[in-house]
Symmetry: C2
Subunit: 133 residues, 2 copies
DNA sequence: TTTCGTTATTCCTTGCTGTATATTACGACC
DNA sequence: GGTCGTAATATACAGCAAGGAATAACGAAA
């Protein structure tokens, strides 16, 4: 059930490699980032912050802080929580949450295209031999 | 003389803001990044790792490790050091060093164009109002 | 009213990263 | 050969962020 690594993409790596990270800032620092989006998707999958955190080998505390940070910076909440009740409660993704997930993946895909393009365009400049000194 | 902050660009910040970092990987991890390039430029300016480090409020040890990391991963050295001698020695940027500085700034500028473009294209999706739930 | 699993929150510990400090090596110049 | 300021390297320390553990709050259902 649990134990899905976040980093299960394996591609052959080339050197030099053009790399980077992207995120979206809000009023109080980071609003959306890769890990946060994965977390949202896991919450959607399990209906629980606790289970989502375990599946990512992340502490509940950290997961909760991320959710709180995202929710408190969004115009409309990305997730809603039910505390108490049958099964103890749970958490689900709102329509707005689904929207920002799509938005981020678009941003993410564009960025990877950008990196690939830059690498293709600039890479040769590094290996190029010039005079000494 | 010294004490130039690295972060002296101030632009009005908008939320949500599309942000990111880029770097270039080598065989042993990071090869070039923003801080490393600034360091190279400071070395060019002062002719000394010690003075360059102080000007960035960076420990000499850290600066030296960065220089060593860059040099050991480059096909041809980016800086050359003179130890001993008049003035104790010094460090200067090679032609190849100048080349990678230019290369990185090109990469950097392209990235900022990319971020600006993405923000313009995607930003409205966040504020857009939808139904509740 | 008891049970149950989750959300929500506090406290404490621990590991790590960067820094300060100290020391050695170096070699042109006087 | 003495001086000087730098490069180069090792050791010890401190601060802080990340995580673990523990606990309270919650409310539907039996």
């Amino acid at each position: 059930m649990y134990k899905k690594s976040i980093h299960n993409r394996k591609k052959k790596i080339s050197h030099p490699g053009f790399r980077g990270r992207i995120w979206i800032d809000g009023r109080k620092g980071t609003f959306l980032g890769y890990g946060r989006i994965i977390l949202l998707e896991r919450i959607r999958e399990y209906g629980s912050i606790t289970k989502a955190a375990k599946s990512m080998e992340m502490s509940y505390r950290h997961a909760w802080e991320l959710v709180d940070s995202m929710n408190s910076q969004a115009a409309r909440p990305l997730v809603k929580t039910l505390t108490g009740g049958k099964g103890g409660g749970g958490t689900y993704i709102t329509k707005n949450g689904e929207k920002v997930i799509k938005l981020f993946w678009k941003f993410y895909a564009d960025f990877h295209d950008f990196l690939k393009h830059e690498e293709k365009q600039l890479k040769f400049l590094i290996h190029q031999k010039g005079e000494e000194e």
